[in-house]
Every structure is written in C-alpha cells, then in structure tokens.
C-alpha cells in the first residue's frame, strides 16, 4: 500500500478536530509525493469516524473495531498502529500532537526506530522527503527538520493547519485486527470534561492578566468571551495570584494556543506569555500602559481602562451579531 498514513483519533464516535487537521496535512504530503492517504482508525464502534475519513479525502481507511479497544491506552493502541504502519510499508505517518497522538507517534518511533518530527507548525515536501517546521525554545526559534532515511513520523500542532475539506468521498474500510496489548494497563474510570469551549481548540480567546486586578476582574473578561463564543484564557501572573484556575493559563508553562482571534486584556505580554499565543491570527491588546510589550505583538491596540473598554466592547459585539 505504502504512501502516507494518518492516525485518526476517535473522540466519542466522531473524528477529533486535530485529526482532521492531520488528515489535511497528509493529503498535502501525499499530493506532493504522488502517493495515497491511508487513514488508521482504532476503537470500538468506529464506522462514523471511518466514513468521515473517506469524506475528508482519505484514499483508504484501515479500521480496527474491537470492543476491547473502547477506551484508549497507549499499551493497547500503540502495538496495533505499529503493526499496521509496518504491514502497509508506510513512507510517512502523520498524527495530531495531542496527548494521544504524542503517545502513539512516540510508540511507533520507538518500535520502528523511525525519526520523529514532533509538533510541526509547517510541513512541506522537498526532494521526496518531508520537511517539518517546528518551534523550539517556546517559539523563540524555529527549526526545519527532516528524517533522512526510512519511515518519517510527523505530528501536527493543534490548529496550526486548517481542517481537511470534504471531498464527498466514500468507501469501505478494510478491517484489521488488534494486536495483543503490551502490558496490562486497564482503564477503570472515565470522567468527561464539562462542556464548554476548550482553550486549545478555541477559534476565539479572551484572556485576562494582572491588569484585571483580582478574581472579580475576570467577570467582564468572561462576559466579553461569552458574547462572542470565545474561551477564556489567563496569564501566569493571574493564575499564580490565585484569581483563576491553572487550566486557563496560556503561555510557556500553560497552554499553547493558536486561535483566529486573541484578545489580551490587562496582559503586559511577558515573553513566556507570548510563547503561548504568538501564532494567533489576529491579536488585540487592551492595556492601560501604552508601553506594554503586548502592543509589539498585537494587530490592534486600545490604551485604556479595561473596566470601561470591555463592557463597551461586549455591547458593541452584541449589537452587531
């Protein structure tokens, strides 16, 4: 079969959004190489995900549908993906750089000795080999990396690539069997995250920093976020002060985000914060200090009191949406 393989994550019966992005990358690489895209789908009840993979342009889909694979563990999924990639003679394996994709890519890399290009933000083909652009030192530098020989594994950073577009394709997945798990890890409990926009998946983020002044200062930030369906982020200063939980933190020791719109409210823009959001498409900075470093990164800036600006902005959005 050879060609470009892409690992597709099953998020409760649907394709994970990061996998759609990885599939788009796989299609681009396959087009440049003049080869095909094979999607690998694993889990229990994966017909919907397999169909979605065809619809998003996979030429082939290999599905491993097994009741014992209902819950992801690296120990169960890793050997199966390794086997499929090996049997198929894959030239390239693409996966999203999610918790699961990082596990799986590392597993295949360890077991095949293949070179791993992690967390790509750009992918191209040069002379028949994949060249991945990735950030190092939290985006302070970039590196163009490649794997000179053998299987090339690349993982794609969340939202760094557009999702694959529908081709209206369809087909029948070929089924493969699960390989025996390596070890006895068993999932004994699951709790789903409360619904709400996840920071790393969000297309719009409104963040608050030290300038909000206290926990109650996040109320206008949240209200603004709600008015445009955005997720709420925060700087480390606000998290360390205990004003907002850590899972909102954007930055080098928090989450790396890449939304279409990032509105920074009362955030000075320390280099560690910039590391987590500098690849956002449009950045808006609202700060009372016109010398704040965040303005050096922003597309649009407002110097002012955020307790006046935020409610005004919220009502302006509401009146026009």
């Amino acid at each position: 079969m050879s060609g470009v393989f892409v690992y597709i994550e099953n998020a409760g019966g649907e394709m994970a959004s990061i996998s759609s992005e990885a599939l788009g990358v796989a299609r681009g690489v396959a087009a440049d190489l003049g080869s095909s895209v094979t999607a690998v789908v694993i889990g229990s009840g994966v017909d919907g995900v397999a169909s979605a993979a065809f619809d998003l342009g996979a030429d082939n889909v290999i599905a491993v549908d097994d009741a014992s694979l209902e819950h992801y563990t690296a120990s169960a999924y890793g050997p199966t993906v390794t086997q499929i990639v090996g049997d198929g003679g894959a030239d390239v394996l693409v996966a999203g750089a999610s918790t699961e994709g990082r596990d799986i890519s590392a597993w295949v890399s360890a077991d095949t000795g293949a070179g791993l290009m992690a967390d790509a933000i750009g992918v191209k083909v040069d002379d028949g080999r994949v060249v991945a652009t990735r950030t190092v030192y939290a985006g302070k530098l970039l590196a163009d990396v490649s794997v000179p020989e053998g299987l090339q594994i690349v993982t794609t950073r969340n939202r760094a690539f557009p999702p694959a577009e529908s081709t209206g394709g369809s087909g029948a997945a070929s089924s493969a069997s699960a390989v025996e798990a390596a070890g006895d890890a068993q999932v004994v409990g699951i709790s789903q995250k409360e619904s709400g926009v996840s920071l790393t998946d969000a297309s719009k983020i409104v963040s608050g920093g030290r300038g909000v002044g206290g926990p109650e200062g996040f109320e206008p930030v949240q209200a603004l976020a709600d008015s445009i369906g955005a997720a709420m982020g925060a700087s480390r200063a606000a998290v360390d002060a205990g004003w907002i939980p850590y899972d909102h933190q954007v930055g080098q020791t928090g989450k790396t985000v890449s939304p279409d719109l990032y509105i920074a409210c009362g955030i000075s823009g320390a280099i560690q914060h910039q590391a987590g959001m500098r690849t956002s498409k449009v950045i808006v900075a609202i700060n009372k200090d016109s010398d704040a470093p965040i303005f050096g990164l922003a597309s649009y800036g407002i110097v002012g009191d955020l307790f006046e600006v935020l409610p005004a902005l919220e009502s302006e959005f509401k009146s026009r949406m």
């Binding site: 293949a114 070179g115 992690a118 967390d119 530098l141 490649s146 070890g183 800036g301």
Partner: protein
C-alpha cells in the same frame, strides 16, 4: 520500591536566544541564571519525593543526562528531598534526537537498577516534543502512563493513576514497573530547605558517560536539524485605535469583521 525521577536542564523561560552557524546560544541577563530545572520536571521531582512520603518508596533517585553543568539540576533535586542522584555527563547528548536520548536514560535506569516507577515531566520547555516518556518506556519494556494528574494508589505490585486528556480524566491501573509522565495539576512543588541545600552541595554524585553505559554516541540522530532560525516578526505594525471608548470599540469591531475573525 525504588523510584527514579528524570530531570532535564533547560534554558530558563526568560532566556534570550541567538543563532550563529546553526548553533544556538542563550543568556539570561535578567536572572543571571541561563539554565534551570525544566519547569515541568519540578512536578516530577516533587511527585517522586511524595512516592517516598505517601507510597512507601525506599529510594528516590534523580537522574539527568546532559553536560557536566547539568549536575545543578541534580543538586536541586537532592535539596528538595531526593535520596540519591545519578548523572550521565556527556557533551554528545546535546546532539541526540529524542529516541537516542531515551536510550541513554534507559541504560542509566538499568544501571541504577531495580526501579519500579520512573517519573518524568510531561515535556521539556526546550524542545516541547513531549515524547521522551513513551520512548523511555518502550526502551525499558515498561508500561507508559502519560499526562498523569494524580497517583491514586500503589500497592500489590500495581499502580492506579488519573490521566488528564483533552476529553477529561481517565483512571488507569497497570502492573509495575511503569513510566509515568506528570502534568502540573498533580502537585505543588516544595522549595528546597536550607538543610537540604547544604546536604545537596556536599553530596557526591555518581557520574558516568556514554561509553561506560555502553551507548553509541555517533550517528545517534534519525532527525536532521536542517536549519534553526529566528521567527519572522509578526507582519504589520500595531494599529492603535484612538478616540473615546465608544470610537475605539466601534473601530475595533469594524476591523475584526473585516478580518473575518468574528
């Protein structure tokens, strides 16, 4: 039960970088400390110490692979409460890819011997790849348990942990030995005590190198780091919106609709 915590020395989060002939160098004029314990590893050191305090671990060994100066992260780990340290000191490690780096760590873990739980941070802030824990687990033939936010229990030769994923939480049980990678939610790292710092500074830390570990240093990267460069500045100057608040927000919303981000 012996626990090994893997600790990496990385540039500080406030370091500034320059590239010359594809070689990266950095400094930190603000703090004067260009190299630090990888911030994600502070949680792994803390959790290792808690394995001794809460789960009956007999020894907690801090392990690093890096240049001679990386011994600093071991002294910090000892000062926090690790009982032993082990240093693979070799300049060749810097040029290795994650896969070969994991081979070095695995050889060191085997040399330390009899480790039942290996703990790593979820990633290092220099490369941010987050793949070493699984690579290490495969090298050692141990079960990887990644993105762990709580170690619930360790008994009867098995461990139960809570993992944090994009979808929520997963509780997983596995037989020992395991390689665990931890996230920040797992604990609040302690500060080293004065007594701990004094003891750590006097500690004699066993050191080995790649040759003695039997790990090949040459040809040890399957990944070619073609070019390293500074990212282009973001395009365009910031447009500062003027007028009173009403004018500012109206102009901003106009721009955001034009940019099609709303």
């Amino acid at each position: 039960m012996k626990v090994v915590v893997c600790v990496k020395q990385t540039p500080s989060t406030t370091a500034t970088f320059s590239v010359s002939d594809n070689v990266v160098s950095w400094e930190d004029t603000g703090s004067g400390k260009p190299n630090v314990v990888n911030p994600w590893d502070e949680f792994c050191v803390e959790e290792g110490i808690r394995m001794k305090e809460n789960h009956g671990a007999s020894a907690v060994v801090a392990l690093t692979a890096g240049p001679e100066g990386a011994v600093d992260v071991l002294r910090t780990s000892l000062a926090m409460g690790c009982t032993e340290a082990f240093h693979v000191a070799d300049d060749a490690i810097a040029d290795m890819d994650a896969n070969n780096n994991a081979k070095v760590l695995a050889a060191a873990v085997n040399q330390i011997g009899d480790a039942q739980v290996i703990i790593c941070g979820k990633q290092a802030i220099d490369g941010d790849s987050g793949v070493t824990p699984v690579l290490l687990a495969r090298e050692l033939g141990m079960t990887p348990l990644t993105y762990v936010s709580a170690i619930k229990s360790v008994d009867g030769g098995s461990i139960t942990v809570e993992r944090l994923t994009e979808a929520g939480q997963q509780e997983v049980t596995a037989s020992l030995p395991v390689v665990v990678s931890v996230v920040r939610e797992i604990n609040e790292p302690r500060y080293p005590s004065f007594m701990g710092i004094r003891k750590a500074n006097k500690a004699k830390i066993p050191t080995t190198n790649l040759a003695d570990l039997g790990v090949e240093a040459s040809g040890s990267s399957n990944v070619n780091w073609g070019t390293i460069y500074a990212p282009a500045a973001r395009e365009g100057e910031v447009e500062m919106l003027s007028g009173d608040v009403g004018d500012q927000v109206k102009a901003l919303v106009d721009r955001l609709f034009e940019e099609k981000v709303i």
